[in-house]
């Protein structure tokens, strides 16, 4: 029974961390059809900004929830102005340019911070479930994922800004004719996506080692979750995260974490073969 509870918490945690890791990419890809291969590096920057903030004495929670998103959001605005803006509509070129950006960011951070692992210890300690102990931070991750999903839904469906953003993504010229500048909407959307990636990096900093190359571990997972999700941003994100997260965690329980990861990737390839439009291309059509 205790084991069942622990397994359940771990599966929830795997799903939640996939939601968090992929949210930024989902917003940028889902809304703008821009494949941001520098997503992992945005997360890495988020993690580093948490470490930098801690060094100057900022509270850990402030560092994670305020400093990391803002810092990476600003980086996102700058990169959007300099690079991404010139490549809208050229999907393959955007992929290549953002891959270049990802190498560039890794290089810059390596030059500045050195190629060493920095760590943040996980706060909140742990609590016990029967004979097992579960880290309290796990529950924070799960809670944040739920709040994040609700927040994305709220912003997109209930606010003026969400309406404008969705309208612009569907028909940029019509939005332009109605007096909205699409380039500003793109800019803000990219910044929000980048900020979400920064938040993800900050949140995961206490759980993983922080190295300049840490982004590579997340990019593929985030990428397949978003693509596997299909056209509906939020439903796709949650659906794909649930499917892949559960497969990953259950396979990890049966074998090793490495095979858990491999099972996730294999499941994704098989799924893309069966449902080339992603989960929401077949089910939950028309949802958000």
């Amino acid at each position: 029974m205790d084991l069942a509870v622990v397994v359940f918490i771990q599966v929830l945690y795997a799903v939640a961390s996939l939601v968090i890791v992929s949210a930024g990419l989902a917003v940028i890809f889902g809304m703008m059809k821009v494949i941001n291969l520098a997503h992992g590096e945005f997360m890495m920057l988020g993690a580093y900004s948490v470490i930098a903030a801690l060094k100057v004495g900022v509270n850990l929670w402030v560092a994670i929830f305020v400093v990391a998103p803002i810092a990476v959001g600003v980086v996102g605005v700058v990169l959007e102005r300099l690079v991404i803006r010139r490549l809208y509509g050229r999907m393959v070129d955007t992929m290549l340019a953002t891959w270049g950006l990802s190498l560039l960011l890794v290089g810059i951070v390596t030059s500045v911070a050195g190629n060493t692992t920095a760590g943040v210890s996980a706060p909140l300690g742990s609590f016990s479930v029967g004979a097992y102990s579960v880290s309290g931070y796990t529950l924070v991750i799960i809670a944040v994922a739920v709040v994040l999903a609700l927040a994305i839904r709220f912003v997109l469906t209930r606010t003026q800004w969400g309406l404008i953003a969705r309208g612009t993504m569907q028909k940029p010229d019509m939005a332009n004719a109605l007096g909205i500048s699409p380039s500003r909407v793109y800019s803000v959307t990219f910044a929000v996506g980048a900020a979400l990636s920064g938040l993800a990096g900050g949140l995961l900093a206490p759980l993983t080692g922080v190295v300049p190359t840490m982004g590579a571990a997340f990019i593929a997972k985030a990428f397949i979750t978003v693509i596997g999700g299909g056209p509906a941003i939020l439903a796709g994100l949650i659906g794909a995260s649930t499917l892949f997260g559960a497969i990953n965690q259950l396979a990890t329980f049966v074998t090793t974490p490495v095979f858990g990861e491999v099972a996730l990737l294999v499941a994704a390839i098989v799924m893309l073969r069966l449902l080339p439009q992603g989960i929401t291309g077949r089910f939950f059509k028309g949802s958000l």
Binding site: V83, L87, D93, L104, I108, S111, V258, L272
Partner: protein, 341 residues
């Protein structure tokens, strides 16, 4: 496309330069430099494999390194078990080709688009990396070859003359073999591209719908070019394992795949010589960066990729090719004015 680049004169010129280098270099260079040149040739073969499937087949593969790594590992494992290197050499080409065929079948016959192609090839590369990386224990072995996990496989036996396991190639022989392979691959692809099959492959890149309507199964042609690309990358992997007598999981890594793409972008998409030029230039640059501390090679490579995508999207060789082309047309025009409409 350029007239000059398409003409057989350019192919003959490239081959002539190649042959001169093949014969001349061992006489001019000392052994150390010759070994350096060998690795440039190995990487050039890898670059050409992507240049073919991307520039002519229109297939952007983010995981060309997967076939390269597979070739290296297959050769290493097979040669350690068999002793004689003839069959392992062939296996190192056939196994990646079969793997590419399987993967290509899933992608092309599933009618997945560009983006999915990128995701799937990237994912497959990571799967291989994760799997091989985790096989460090002594219990992971195939026959008598330990897989070595993140430590890689050291002391891989070098190629020997077919059937004579004791006649092992010297570094100079390896140079001849590698460079000849590069020239043969180049020649083979040039012939393939100008054949009927090659024309359909290029046509399918330009307009898949129209090719389908003309009665060609575009999927089959894409699958074919992808398989050929996998075989060539496997060959490069085998030669790489020979060059350093060592292979490790990092050759499956994202950094390796990114490098191949950078070679092709910098050299010029849609040419075969371009990626060789790009490969040599970038390899030389990274080795120069490695000698000093201020600039990080990732930083420089990333900057190069971004700058080329934004400012020189056609790459070096086609830009130079335009200049040659003007001169070429003038030459042709003076000889026979009716030939150029």
């Amino acid at each position: 496309m350029n007239r000059f680049a398409k003409s057989w004169t350019s192919a003959a010129l490239s081959l002539a330069i190649g042959l001169v280098l093949l014969v001349g270099l061992p006489g001019v260079l000392d052994d150390y430099t010759l070994i350096e040149v060998t690795i440039y040739a190995v990487m050039s073969i890898l670059g050409v494999s992507l240049a073919f499937i991307w520039g002519f087949g229109g297939i952007l593969c983010f995981g060309q390194a997967a076939f390269f790594g597979l070739g290296a590992y297959v050769y290493a494992i097979a040669v350690m078990n068999m002793g004689d290197s003839t069959v392992p050499f062939l296996l190192a080409i056939v196994v990646p080709a079969l793997f590419a065929a399987l993967l290509g079948y899933v992608i092309f016959y599933g009618r997945l688009s560009d983006v999915y192609m990128g995701v799937i090839t990237l994912t497959v590369t990571l799967i291989l990396f994760n799997l091989i990386n985790s096989t460090a224990g002594p219990e992971w072995r195939i026959g008598s070859a330990p897989l070595g996990g993140f430590n890689g496989i050291p002391a891989i036996p070098t190629l020997n003359l077919p059937g004579l396991p004791d006649e092992v190639l010297t570094p100079k022989d390896l140079f001849y073999v590698t460079f000849s392979c590069l020239l043969l691959v180049y020649l083979g692809l040039r012939v393939l591209i100008s054949s009927k099959i090659g024309r359909v492959i290029i046509a399918a890149k330009e307009n898949e719908q129209r090719v389908l309507l003309l009665g060609y199964d575009a999927r089959a042609y894409k699958l074919f070019s992808f398989t050929v690309g996998g075989a060539i990358a496997g060959l490069a992997g085998c030669l790489f394992a020979n060059w350093g007598a060592f292979t490790s999981p990092t050759i499956f890594g994202l950094a390796q795949s990114a490098q191949i793409i950078i070679w092709v972008i910098v050299g010029g998409l849609g040419t075969l010589v371009g990626p060789i030029v790009g490969c040599v230039a970038i390899q030389w640059l990274t080795s120069q960066i490695g000698t000093q501390q201020t600039l990080n090679s990732n930083l420089v490579l990333g900057a190069i990729l971004v700058v080329f995508v934004l400012l020189v999207p056609r790459g070096i060789v086609p830009s130079i090719g335009d200049l040659i082309d003007k001169a070429w047309r003038r030459l042709r025009g003076s000889k026979s004015s009716e030939a150029t409409p």
